[in-house]
């Protein structure tokens, strides 16, 4: 396997595998977030488990961070290499005739999602690290000690319409990213049969359904509290 990941196809595999991992994570993230709509208590319980269980915090979380950073860095590296493969552009190029806008603008949609992740980290992840590992409060309770704080924090964040607008925009761009990315990942790992048949429909359900679900959660809390 020496040199596999230095080759163009090896890099395709690396990009696709990190994408598949992130898509599984996104599904798990959604499964917990949607609980906040149906049952604040269940959302609190799930959040507390994810936020305090050692295997999630010290094994899965570092893997997730590595996966996110790797996917973005690899995306930019590949873009730079690909630009070198055509140093002189066409005077007239009709990309719409043979490919989707989404497939040609993965870097753009990915960069917007990256910008959203910075906002998301500032909103949730950094305060969470502060409370748990700097202040040392692992209880997950509100300051008055009356129940868990996770649901209250979520609702509070979605009070600001600008933040909700940013979330909606980011998830629209994520949807565009996934509309190409989902099936592209399967094609890259050589799963063309799956890619061509049953997965194509699932790709659209995932790429549209999941971001719409996240948007619904943000809007639900904005308009109901």
């Amino acid at each position: 396997m020496s040199g596999f990941f230095k080759s163009s196809i090896g890099r395709k595999y690396a990009m696709a595998l990190s994408a598949l991992f992130l898509m599984v994570f996104l599904l798990q993230h959604f499964a917990i977030n949607i609980l906040s709509v149906f049952s604040p208590d269940a959302f609190n319980e799930a959040s507390h488990f994810m936020g305090t269980f050692w295997a999630v915090q010290f094994v899965l979380q570092p893997i997730l961070i590595f996966g996110v950073v790797f996917h973005f860095v690899m995306g930019f590296v590949l873009e730079i290499k690909n630009n070198k493969a055509r140093q002189k552009s066409y005077v007239k190029n009709n990309g719409n005739a043979n490919s989707s806008w989404m497939s040609r603008n993965m870097l753009l949609t990915g960069a917007v999602v990256l910008a959203f992740l910075v906002l998301h980290f500032i909103d949730f992840w950094i305060p969470e690290l502060n409370v748990k590992y700097i202040q040392g409060d692992m209880s997950g309770l509100l300051t008055d000690g009356e129940g868990f704080r996770y649901y209250e924090e979520l609702v509070h964040k979605f009070e600001n319409p600008l933040r909700v607008g940013a979330y909606v925009l980011a998830f629209v761009l994520l949807s565009l990213h996934l509309l190409h990315g989902f099936s592209s990942a399967f094609q890259s790992v050589g799963a063309n049969n799956i890619y061509k048949k049953s997965m194509k429909g699932l790709a659209q359900v995932y790429a549209i359904g999941l971001p719409v679900g996240f948007i619904f959660i943000a809007l639900y809390h904005h308009f109901n509290h």
């Binding site: 163009s8 595999y13 493969a85 007239k92 009709n94 490919s99 497939s103």
Partner: protein
């Protein structure tokens, strides 16, 4: 039809090159695109100007010599045809037609619309063949039972004429459709399995060495390919490459 042509003119590989406008009148819709360029060149020669250099050979859509990026698409707006099979009926009177060479760092322009596609030859030389002892004991290929589905897929892959439209159409100038087709046409047949591991590794290594970009699965190559080579061939090459590296 009366047309305005905007054609890339470049004296040699080192020249900067530029788009030059030409007017051409009384073009028959029954002409092929290359015949239209022949007429243009006849006029240029009569005026004492340098004719436009472009690649062509069989003019039957099978040799892979002709190229041209016409109105933003490899081999022009028609589907499943090479430039030599593209007819002027695909255009309208008064149209402006942009004609450019295939663009890729691995396909440097030699002159005007002619590019050097020998990178494809070097990839082919790296493994796009089978080694057969032809000293008299060769087994008749037709005597070897082959699954019909595999035989059809191998044949489809083998219809690639190596024109380079895939590279020209790809936003990354990737050659993976070409290499995928060449790997597949052998990988699907028992004769090709013997050297399958070395073939895919050597051809991919040469492809990377030539400076082609990475495939991002836009599918533009499949759409613009005059022979309709399928993206399945890229997926098959990816699998072959992974298994070849695991085995090695």
């Amino acid at each position: 039809m009366n047309l305005t042509l905007k054609i890339w003119r470049q004296k040699n590989a080192n020249d900067k090159g530029k788009m030059v406008d030409y007017k051409i009148n009384d073009v028959s819709p029954d002409m092929s695109f290359l015949e239209m360029l022949d007429v243009l060149n006849s006029g240029l020669i009569l005026k004492g100007e340098e004719p436009v250099a472009f690649d062509h050979d069989c003019r039957e859509g099978i040799c892979g010599s002709c190229s041209l990026y016409i109105n933003g698409e490899a081999h022009g707006p028609d589907r499943g045809v090479t430039t030599c099979q593209l007819h002027m009926r695909k255009f309208k009177d008064g149209d402006t037609i942009y004609i450019e060479p295939f663009r890729a760092t691995a396909f440097p322009v030699i002159k005007d619309l002619i590019v050097d596609r020998s990178a494809f030859d070097r990839i082919q030389n790296a493994g796009g063949f089978i080694s057969v002892n032809t000293s008299g004991n060769t087994i008749d290929a037709n005597a070897i039972p082959i699954n019909k589905h595999d035989a059809d897929d191998a044949f489809s892959a083998a219809t690639c004429i190596g024109c380079g439209a895939c590279v020209a159409s790809c936003k990354n100038s990737s050659a993976m459709l070409f290499v995928g087709a060449k790997v597949s046409q052998y990988a699907l047949l028992p004769q090709g399995r013997v050297e399958a591991v070395d073939r895919v590794k050597n051809m991919v290594a040469q492809m990377d060495l030539e400076g082609f970009g990475n495939c991002t699965n836009t599918g533009a190559c499949e759409v613009e390919c005059p022979k309709g080579i399928s993206l399945e061939n890229i997926a098959r090459m990816n699998r072959e490459y992974l298994f070849a590296n695991i085995k090695d």
